[in-house]
């Protein structure tokens, strides 16, 4: 039996006023892209920082290749934090070289620069990069030790759509090298595109775990009907339908599309702006927690 790259066992992190992580257990197989999803405050960054060895847990354990986190893990792990400032007055190349010098093995600096498409920026001051360029530099630093496990903590937060898609392409190329990736995000599209397996956290607990497609299949044999909230009269809430409140809309899940449409027409609900679509991870979260993701 193959030992998982990372095993998280009954992890708890308590602060004086709150329990950020409440008995979380899961394991990350070799070569997988593993997603930790959840809204802000769900406990995903705390969980991942304990997994990275940055934060001590209140109780529970994280093991790397069957061993407690230690020197081997620090040599093997590449980490991209949600927010990181680099040393002032260093160029992109110097910043990468600084971190390359902290590891006993790794990639050549020029190779990392090429991997992350930073050739034209190599001699630029790291403070003079755009958001997307900065994230590419931080990814380069995370890759400089040729990591066996790569942590990406909300790597595309704050990036424009183009920069985000560029970043996803980079992650896809890293995935192709069979590196284990642990990704935290609150972008469902990102998780669906990149992750082989996900854990959804809410209020410090796991509310769903498994491959995205399997989870969607298990929870949604049906389709979703979306209607603007203003088109949905209060009296219609008593109809025998599975109705969920989203931000500005009403969502109805059903495996009998024709019957549901007949019921809505009979209740004189306007269907001009009706949208029918398959379920996604956001719907899954909505169904499991009764609340919408809070990016």
């Amino acid at each position: 039996m193959t030992i998982p790259v990372i095993e998280v066992h009954r992890l708890v992190k308590q602060y004086p006023a709150t329990t950020a992580v409440d008995g979380v257990s899961f394991s990350v197989p070799q070569g997988a892209c593993f997603g930790l999803l959840g809204p802000n405050g769900a406990g995903k960054t705390t969980t991942v920082e304990i997994m990275e060895g940055i934060l001590p847990p209140t109780s529970g354990e994280v093991r790397y290749c069957g061993e407690p986190l230690g020197a081997r893990f620090r040599e093997d792990a590449g980490i991209l934090f949600q927010k990181t400032a680099l040393q002032d007055f260093l160029t992109v190349r110097q910043s990468i070289a600084l971190f390359r010098g902290l590891y006993s093995r790794g990639l050549d600096v020029d190779e990392v620069i090429r991997l992350c498409s930073l050739e034209k920026l190599a001699e630029r001051d790291n403070r003079k990069l755009s958001g997307g360029q900065q994230q590419r530099l931080l990814l380069a630093i995370a890759l400089v030790n040729d990591p066996k496990v790569l942590f990406l903590d909300e790597p595309t937060t704050g990036l424009d759509p183009q920069a985000r898609r560029n970043f996803w392409q980079l992650v896809e190329s890293i995935k192709a090298q069979r590196k284990t990736i642990i990704l935290t995000t609150h972008y469902m599209e990102e998780a669906e595109l990149l992750c082989d397996e996900i854990v959804i956290l809410d209020r410090g607990r796991i509310v769903a775990q498994g491959p995205p497609r399997r989870l969607l299949h298990e929870h949604f044999a049906e389709v979703l009907l979306e209607l603007p909230r203003q088109d949905f009269p209060p009296a219609a809430r008593t109809l025998p339908l599975r109705i969920l409140d989203a931000r500005d809309r009403i969502e109805i899940t059903t495996d009998d599309l024709e019957g549901t449409l007949r019921t809505l027409l009979a209740a004189q609900v306007p269907l001009t702006q009706l949208r029918i679509r398959p379920a996604n991870l956001e719907d899954l979260f909505l169904q499991l927690t009764g609340t919408e993701l809070r990016p």
């Binding site: 020197a71 400032a85 971190f99």
Partner: protein, 334 residues
């Protein structure tokens, strides 16, 4: 105006809730006032300084020792006392025996007047003349200026840099690598040490050329002293920067260290004649030991053996501060 008041209110809340900073902000001026009063306060200063070759001064034993406006300083060792007389750091040296014996520096105008005063009380006192120019204040001040520059560079240079790294998250990122706290701190120490030695060397050469100063002692010994002295103060800065995340708190603590050292370590004036416990406090500071040793080498030509106690103090202080810094070091914000 509404926006200004909102920001003012938020800033006031931030300041008041940062209790460490608040405490230091209140404590620092009080301690400065107390320090100044101890150094400059007290009874009126005497006009003359007379060394008395004895374990202690028994004022009742001799009419001369009862004179007003003269400070009598017990000096058990004749050689050290004569050295001070030669450099006009005391105005007269008196040995209370029968008949009494005294030494006077014939190059010193103050010595001349002190001698007149002595002979009015002790007509049979035997005269032993010595000669020697007064030590230039600028020569005496020179090591103090170098030491002060080193102190500020060590404390503020290292303290604020580590704090900035912590606040920006750079330390947290380093923590995710195989780098240990000891390695990180050592790198900071060595980086600052190199910079300080370079700057101090330039200052030494430049100032010495301007004021026409020549060290009486060994230059390699001065370099050794500069290395150990700078290490001790960098390590002192790390004890503060190791843990805290507030600029105001760290700034307050650094001021709390630098100001007493400015006043009590003998940068500007000698503490000779100040209360004994003030001198005792002063000798708890690394800068005091560095300056005492530097003056001994630069002005008196002292060798390694003579300044060994100072070097030992600085080395032990460095190790203690570094150990405490490494123990209390935090990579991330509290």
């Amino acid at each position: 105006m509404r926006r200004l008041l909102a920001v003012l209110h938020a800033r006031n809340l931030e300041f008041l809730r940062d209790r460490g900073t608040l405490l230091f902000t209140l404590l620092l001026p009080v301690m400065l006032v107390l320090g100044m009063s101890f150094v400059f306060g007290g009874p009126e200063r005497p006009l003359f300084k007379v060394g008395v070759l004895a374990g202690q001064v028994e004022r009742a034993s001799r009419p001369f020792l009862r004179e007003r406006y003269v400070e009598f300083i017990a000096m058990p060792e004749r050689a050290a006392a004569l050295d001070k007389l030669t450099h006009q750091q005391i105005d007269l040296l008196f040995e209370p025996r029968t008949p009494p014996l005294y030494w006077v520096n014939t190059d010193s105008p103050r010595g001349y007047i002190a001698e007149r005063l002595l002979l009015a009380d002790e007509a049979d006192a035997r005269r032993q003349p010595v000669t020697g120019a007064a030590r230039r204040y600028v020569d005496w001040l020179f090591p103090g200026i170098l030491g002060m520059n080193m102190m500020f560079s060590c404390l503020f240079g290292v303290g604020y840099v580590v704090l900035r790294y912590r606040k920006s998250g750079f330390l947290k990122r380093l923590h995710a690598t195989p780098l240990s706290a000891f390695e990180f701190l050592s790198a900071q120490v060595l980086s600052r040490l190199g910079l300080i030695l370079f700057v101090t060397a330039i200052l030494y050469v430049g100032i010495a050329a301007i004021i026409g100063f020549h060290s009486a002692g060994s230059l390699p010994l001065l370099v050794l002293l500069a290395v150990i002295g700078a290490l001790s103060m960098i390590a002192l800065a790390l004890t503060i920067a190791a843990r805290f995340s507030s600029e105001e708190l760290v700034g307050g603590m650094l001021n709390l260290l630098t100001w007493p050292m400015m006043l009590l370590s003998g940068i500007w004036f000698s503490l000779e004649g100040s209360p004994r416990w003030v001198q005792w406090v002063a000798h708890a500071f690394p800068l005091t030991h560095m300056l005492d040793a530097a003056r001994a080498v630069m002005l008196d030509g002292a060798g390694l053996a003579a300044i060994a106690p100072h070097l030992l103090f600085l080395a032990v202080a460095t190790l203690v501060f570094l150990a405490f810094g490494a123990w209390s070091f935090r990579w991330r914000l509290d």
